[in-house]
């Protein structure tokens, strides 16, 4: 069920009515059931997969909690390996084998891998990150392992199941929400967000899309100005598309009284690349920061190490978006951007340049425009394979006619 379909609208209306007519104690179970149905609607066989994974992770979470015994570290390693290994198996197997074949080919060794044609379970990247978050936080003792009902709802909550936002268990808190009554203000807000999301998707994203696709398909037919227009269009398309889905997810959740984390906050109006990433796909950025960048050492082990950590984090962030080299390079591109911005901040501090809290409006506008264009160049790497992206970028920058 895609959000902008009539089936989803009918499904949401039915679930809404049944949810609020049901006794409070049954409501979470009802949502879990409909979550499975929602997932089953896409690809029935994968429902077994997500159900099995949820049961396994739930069971393992009890073995990794503080006080679970000496083996809990081992169980934790096993649990996270299982989650990430499954993700790697389904999503990155082909990419990994291609990379190995490429490296071996470069070394003069002829190899041929024939990976099985796997269909990755839908949204595996999203729910795997939720499993990992849950396991880490239980292991750290941030909260005790939840009951089966609460954990089941955390994973199978259908508004966020397919495209996020990636939830945090302590914020989701099913126990508290399930006790709440129907609040017209929540319904009002939820419907408003859904309508707003649909408008973003249908009026803007879908309108812009047909103009951008030909630009990336046949860039040689377009002038550099038209290439820029195509990239601007794509920047709008991807933002309005993705944020529209987030709006509908947040709105749908609110209809049931649940508050889900915001995912976008005017990312294209940010004055630097660090602020861009704090406001673009917020739930993913914060996950990467909390469970990758900081565990790698963050900036606690000196500036040099921080640069490397940032680059690793962003490269993996790029790979999360898709199993291909150009996604990886897109992530690296942003990692380099973040490092350059960090270097600029360090230089400012070292040379004692005054830090203005309220810069001149021209400086602010220039910063926003500059950041937006940096992001736009990144989108070329995101959309096209590396050869084509490189050719487009060179033409956009007037390096090549």
């Amino acid at each position: 069920m895609i959000f902008n379909t009539w089936v989803y609208g009918a499904f949401l209306a039915v679930v809404f009515c049944l949810y609020w007519l049901a006794p409070a104690r049954w409501r979470p179970l009802l949502l879990i059931g409909f979550g499975f149905y929602f997932y089953w609607y896409y690809y029935p066989i994968h429902t077994l997969f997500i159900a099995a994974m949820t049961v396994i992770v739930f069971g393992l979470s009890w073995l990794v909690r503080p006080g679970a015994g000496r083996q809990r570290r081992l169980w934790f390693g096993l649990a996270t390996t299982l989650c990430l290994g499954t993700l790697a198996y389904f999503k990155y197997q082909g990419f990994f084998l291609d990379s190995v074949a490429w490296v071996m080919g470069a070394a003069g060794l002829k190899t041929h891998f024939d990976p099985p044609q796997l269909r990755a379970p839908l949204a595996i990247s999203f729910f795997t990150f939720e499993y990992v978050h849950y396991l880490i936080e239980v292991y750290r003792g941030t909260f005790p392992p939840a009951g089966a009902r609460d954990f089941g709802l955390f994973i199978m909550f259908f508004p966020t199941l397919i495209c996020g936002p990636i939830k945090r268990f302590q914020q989701f808190n099913p126990q508290e929400y399930s006790q709440r009554g129907l609040d017209p203000q929540n319904v009002n807000y939820g419907l408003e967000r859904i309508l707003f999301g649909l408008a973003k998707k249908t009026l803007i994203a879908d309108t812009v899309a047909p103009y951008c696709a030909p630009v990336f398909a046949h860039p040689e037919l377009y002038t550099w100005a038209q290439l820029w227009l195509g990239v601007y269009g794509y920047a709008m398309q991807i933002y309005f598309d993705f944020s529209a889905y987030s709006d509908i997810a947040i709105g749908s959740a609110r209809l049931f009284g649940y508050t889900v984390q915001e995912n976008f906050n005017y990312p294209y109006l940010q004055p630097n690349i660090a602020r861009f990433w704090r406001n673009w796909h917020i739930s993913l950025t914060s996950w990467i920061t909390d469970y990758l960048y900081i565990p790698l050492g963050g900036n606690r082990r000196g500036e040099g190490r921080a640069y490397v950590n940032r680059l690793i984090s962003m490269t993996l962030c790029g790979l999360w978006h898709g199993a291909a080299f150009h996604f990886m390079v897109w992530g690296m591109f942003h990692g380099v951007g973040l490092n350059i911005y960090r270097a600029y901040q360090v230089a400012r501090a070292r040379w004692g340049w005054p830090r203005t809290t309220d810069p001149h409006v021209a400086v602010r506008v220039l910063s926003v425009v500059g950041t937006f264009h940096f992001v736009c160049i990144g989108w070329v790497l995101f959309v096209c394979d590396l050869d084509k992206a490189w050719a487009i970028i060179l033409r956009m920058l007037l390096v090549r006619p």
């Binding site: 379909t5 009539w6 089936v7 009918a10 609020w20 009554g181 129907l182 609040d183 017209p184 203000q185 319904v187 009002n188 419907l191 309508l195 249908t202 009026l203 879908d206 309108t207 103009y211 951008c212 030909p214 630009v215 046949h218 037919l221 377009y222 100005a225 038209q226 227009l229 195509g230 269009g233």
Partner: protein
């Protein structure tokens, strides 16, 4: 279940707010379709065949939504053979000259198969026509992929169920139902195109679509005869030279060279159209055709099936590879049988034109267009006079 603190005020506020949203949608529907604001903007659909097709559908939808059903018109439907072969203005003028007070409308869609045409006829019933002529060609029955084509996107709603277009899944059924009752949804592509056209006009932005050749200059150097026969946009100096070579030699191979110089795919496509691949047996479009004649008969609308002209060059031995006479004859037989079964009239125009009036196998040039239009005017006139004389237009014959 409601929080006491919010109570009925909150509920009233909720209803009022969403009532206003609903009202906005209703107003939008009234303004765009009842008042007809949407049709006042001619959208820019870009360039190419698909753009022309969208333009034709836009014009068609405008006619369905805005035209007064009185006096009942005579309409002709079909694919590009009708688009190229029938001059709406020419037929109307000929009818007027014969003092036949008939409003004649041409409703073609490029690339339309018989299922598309059935959909168009079904929607054209809103115009309450007294006569529907179907300009048929055997290629209308070839099994091309037809899902989600422009005609289906706009005109296939829940008021009709066609075996050729099965609705799979709940989404397809819901979509068809909403499309039937909510015009803003049905015509959303036109609304979006109108908005982008207005915006691009206002901003005078640089067009992003791929550019085609400079058509303004293409007529340069063309002999007057070439322009008179084909028009400046349909032929070049080089291809006209090849056509002249055929005109003098009358050899089918020269004609094929002329066609190949314009499109290498066309002949390959013709060669693929045989009785085995496009024949009437187990053909889903044939079922649509029967359905069309069936609902016309039930609505007491006179139906005319006109089998449009085919280029006699392709009946020569050298060109037989690209034309299957058995296919043509099978459809002539089918049309004749179905016409009898449904009280319709079958008119075989296959041999109406000489080869110099064609542009390829089935599409005609300006001279062919003039002749077909004259013949269509005669057919409409005959039907109208028969209707007047016997009062049979409302009961079939």
């Amino acid at each position: 279940m409601l929080h006491a603190k919010h109570g009925s005020d909150a509920l009233r506020s909720l209803c009022w707010r969403w009532g206003k949203v609903l009202l906005c949608f209703v107003c939008l529907d009234v303004l765009l379709f009842r008042v007809g604001l949407l049709w006042k903007v001619k959208p820019n659909f870009g360039v190419g065949t698909l753009a022309v097709d969208w333009l034709l559908l836009h014009q068609m939808a405008e006619r369905f939504e805005t035209r007064s059903p009185t006096p009942p018109p005579a309409v002709i439907v079909g694919s590009s053979v009708v688009f190229r072969g029938v001059d709406e203005f020419g037929v109307s003028t000929a009818l007027a000259q014969q003092s036949v007070p008939v409003q004649f409308l041409s409703l073609p869609a490029l690339g339309a198969d018989c299922t598309d045409t059935t959909l168009i006829v079904w929607n054209a019933m809103r115009l309450r026509p007294w006569l529907v002529a179907y300009g048929a060609a055997s290629r209308d029955f070839c099994p091309l992929p037809i899902e989600n084509d422009p005609v289906v996107r706009i005109f296939y709603d829940s008021s009709l169920e066609l075996a050729a277009l099965p609705r799979v899944g709940a989404e397809a059924r819901l979509d068809a139902t909403v499309k039937r009752y909510w015009k803003l949804y049905r015509y959303r592509f036109f609304v979006r195109s109108a908005l982008t056209t207005l915006l691009s006009r206002a901003a005078s932005t640089v067009a992003l679509a791929g550019e085609t050749g400079d058509v303004a200059g293409e007529g340069g150097g063309l002999p007057p005869d070439a322009q008179r026969r084909f028009g400046a946009l349909n032929i070049t100096v080089e291809s006209y030279r090849l056509w002249q070579r055929w005109y003098q030699s009358r050899r089918a191979s020269d004609y094929l060279s002329w066609i190949e110089s314009r499109s290498s795919d066309l002949l390959r496509w013709y060669a693929a159209q045989t009785l085995a691949t496009c024949g009437p047996n187990a053909n889903r479009h044939v079922r649509s055709f029967e359905r069309m004649l069936g609902f016309l008969q039930r609505a007491h609308v006179r139906a005319v099936v006109a089998y449009f002209p085919e280029n006699p060059v392709f009946r020569q031995p050298e060109a037989r590879k690209y034309f299957d006479p058995a296919l043509s004859d099978a459809y002539a037989d089918l049309f004749a049988r179905q016409a009898v079964a449904h009280g319709a009239r079958f008119v075989d125009l296959r041999n109406l034109l000489p080869p110099e009036d064609f542009y390829d196998l089935v599409h005609v040039n300006f001279e062919g267009r003039r002749k077909i239009s004259t013949r269509m005017a005669e057919i409409v006139e005959e039907e109208w006079r028969a209707r007047e004389l016997h009062g049979v237009g409302r009961g079939g014959r």
